[in-house]
């Protein structure tokens, strides 16, 4: 399990990149995270949804209720234009940071 501190700092970047290609609902997002990180990262409800709401309030995500016959309604989240901008910017920063870390600490290809 990765250090809690690190996870906190990068949570937003993670969420934003998960919904980059298409809109997803909350459970799907948590599944994607677990799968793509090969089990290293797990987001539980108590931390995932507040994060989604926060991002939604900031205008980086937009949520929409979708109702299907015979099922409970689901809320899907997609990336807004602003969200895309922030995603690009945060990606950049992360890249720079990682490079710097590598240089300083001599950590090889992460």
């Amino acid at each position: 399990m990765l250090d809690r501190e690190l996870k906190k700092g990068s949570a937003e970047l993670i969420i934003l990149s998960i919904v980059e290609t298409r809109a997803r609902h909350g459970y799907e997002i948590s599944q994607q995270i677990e799968q793509r990180s090969a089990g290293q990262l797990k987001f539980h409800i108590a931390s995932l949804y507040p994060l989604l709401y926060r991002l939604e309030e900031r205008g980086w995500l937009q949520g929409r209720w979708v109702e299907k016959v015979g099922q409970r309604r689901r809320r899907y989240y997609r990336l807004t234009a602003e969200g895309r901008r922030v995603l690009a910017s945060q990606r950049n920063t992360w890249r720079t940071f990682v490079t710097a870390m590598r240089l300083i600490t001599g950590v090889d290809n992460a």
Binding site: I45, A46, P50, Y53, E57, R64, V66, T96, F97
Partner: protein, 945 residues
Amino acid sequence: MPDPTEDSRPPRTASRDWSAHLRPRLARLALTAAREREIIDELSQHLDDRYDALRADGLADLEARQLALEELRDDDTLARYMRALRQAHVPAPIAEGAPNRGLTADILQDLRYAARMLRRQPGFTIAVVLTLALGIGANTAVFSLVNATLFQRLGVGDPATLAYVSRGNGGVFSYPMYATLRDHTQHFAGLAGWGGISASLHTGDSAELVNGLIVTGNFFDVLQVGPAARGRLLSPADDVTPGAHPVAVISYDFWQTRFAGETGVVGREVRLNGHVFTVVGVAPAGFGGPVLGGVRSLYVPMMMQAIMRPPRARYSGDQNPDLLQHLTNSWISAVGRLKPGAPIEPARAELESLASEFVRTRLPAAAVPARPSPSAPLQPISVVGLEEGADNQRQPLRAAALLLGGVVGAVLLIACANIANLLLSRASSRRREVAVRLALGASRTRLIRQLLTESLLLSLLGGAAGVAIAWAVTAAFQAAPPPAGALPLTFDFAIDRRVLLFSLVLSCATGILFGIAPALEASRPGLVPALKGTDATLGERRARFDLKKLLVVGEVALSLLLLIAAGLFVRGLQSARAIEPGLDVDKLVSAPLSVNLLRYTRAQGREFYRQAVERVSALPGVESATVARVAVLGGSSRVYSLHVEGRGATHESAQSEGGRGVARDPRLINANVVGPEFFQTLGIALVKGRDFRDTDVEAGPPVVILNATAAAMQFANADPIGSRVSVDGPDGPWREIVGVVRDSKYGALREEALPVAYLPLAQNHETGMTLYVRGSVPPASLVGALRREIQSLEPNLPVPNIRTMTDTIGTSLYAARMGAWLLAVFGGLALVLAVVGIYGVLSFSVSRRTREMGIRLALGADSHRVFLLVVRDGMLLVAVGILIGLTGGLAGARALASSLQGVSATDLPTFAGTIALLTAVALVACAIPARRAIRINPITALRQE
């Protein structure tokens, strides 16, 4: 984008009710029912999915449920995360039917938040508010000065159609010529005339000297001066018969100060120049006369000329030309109201032709008692629009006001730069707070608005304090006004609406100026969450530091500029102080005796002076006393044409009074008529020949004494004693030169060497002399006794201005002294601010580079080198600033060269001295953080985040 509703998961059969677990966890949040419903729906859906997945993996129902619920963590984790979210974004309560007041509520919230932030850091707040108060206060005070002088209005009606009418440029008319113009002009609806008077006002106990105007009956009508504040104004009915209208109108200010604003002033009787007058009205407030500046306390009708405006120079009670009839004694100034639509040039041409006709027909070629001035007897008429004329009157103070305005503006700019730097530093320490606000949903504009509100709050507080400071300064100035004649214009400046508005606008502008950069800087989003806590943000650092460096360089340049200006003025003052006046300044007291106001006959006048000198000389502590016609260092002069006997009549005779002394023209000479013992009393040494003697009486041969410059000018190295000169024209009477005295200052301290001729009082009767008393005790102590003595001699004589000669010189240096002092104060302030700025920036830089310093020191760097490193960084900024400031200073000094007296615009000591001062103080400011840098403990530094 693919349809989000495309779900890759198999449809479910039933849903479980998870609300029993969810509701208690959400209860504490006090959500609205609808919102709670929403959240429960969403989280339930997630739990369902989780349950189904676990079941698909083969877990039993109970286990699957338990595992699913573990997603909720413990009882209050969810609520904790949710609560932080909710509280940050509480929307304003929306009252039913209320309009959307989002903006006002936001602004109020911003203000409250800003106030809280400022209260939390009292030291910072006080420092900033104080700095701003000084800067804005200074600017407000200067603006109120500008307001009082440059924006001053004349208080007349419809100024666009008024114009000053004069001979030559600002010259005066004789009354008959004026009357001719007035009666025959077709282009002017009315032409009013006035003359300046000083009158002895006697109300019961003592006499005082008041200034005023003697005016034609149509004066107030032509100027369209508003309704009288009390009683009535003068009208043409008061201007009919000479001597038959003993009435006066007093000015509003005079009514308030001298008569305490009493309502019964109309109808009151006062004695003017010994005669009874009745006050018939009070002029409206805001009317101070037809020209700017000067204090005019009363207005009397032209027909009272015999009493109120006796001729000056050489006249006395038994020789009394009627100035209303005198054809060539010029003393009337005029202002006219053009008929609607009438252009100026045709009006001017008409007056010109009227004037030439007057000269042609009325002026006889021979036998004119007074002599016209050396300049042409008839000069072209000039007509100048009122606004333009008023503008010319403001000229002398305009340069000073602009200079002062520039200086205080520069100080405020430096202060703003400092505060901006301070805020920039603070911005980085507030990153966490800003990050939280951004995370909790604040938009960037909102954040910028919030930060700007803080800046504006600071600047408005500073502005309010600044207005208080300005008010105190103007009150102090009112209480201790400059001595009469010290400044070319008088003014009373008060904090009125316009000044307050200026102050408000300036405060807001200042707040935005120093707040915008830090606000933009501090609200940059996105980077913080990713790099929480660490200070050094790569790539960003360089840009921000450059702004602060730029500000510091600007501060240094500006402060050097101010210091140079201050230095130049101080040096100028020094040089003025060092001027040798040529007389014993510290032993003398002077008292003007204006007996011409009382129309003494020649015999009466002579007797009066003799008695005055005799009685005063008998006072204890008095060494000697004398009188003189032209007051020494009084700024005035009397100029005669000079002819040397035997050299032929090369030029006409001429005489003028009142202007500046002439220096280079050998045909003219400055003159003074002096009583016995003049030279001993003033301490002017005799170089050749003899002083005036008792035998130089009226019946005897006329004599004259020249000063060294006059002797050299007319006689070069030859001995002038015995030669004869005439000041009355090429035909004499010839006066024998009996002595030569050393040069002494005549009209002004800074004049070049003037040629002066001294005539004895005994042979040249004068009215209006100034008494000079030489004391063996400090002269200030003689003032009271002097006043008593003179007043007992003649109670009707006002003796307002008994001054020591030191005071007189002080008055002439007043402007220079004031200027130097003000500039020194502001220059010093600028220096302090700039140095604080340097220190602040360097200190901040050191603290940010603590890790770097620590690493260097740990790696064995010489602490000396680290010290030099820091100092070099700082001094580099100072050097650039000095370079810029120096260039500006040289250019500015050249522009100011006309105002600089006694010091060159490239005065080396000034430039060198200010640069040295600035460098020295800056070095200290750099050394302190540098010392801190080398004291850094490498271990703690490396550990520091």
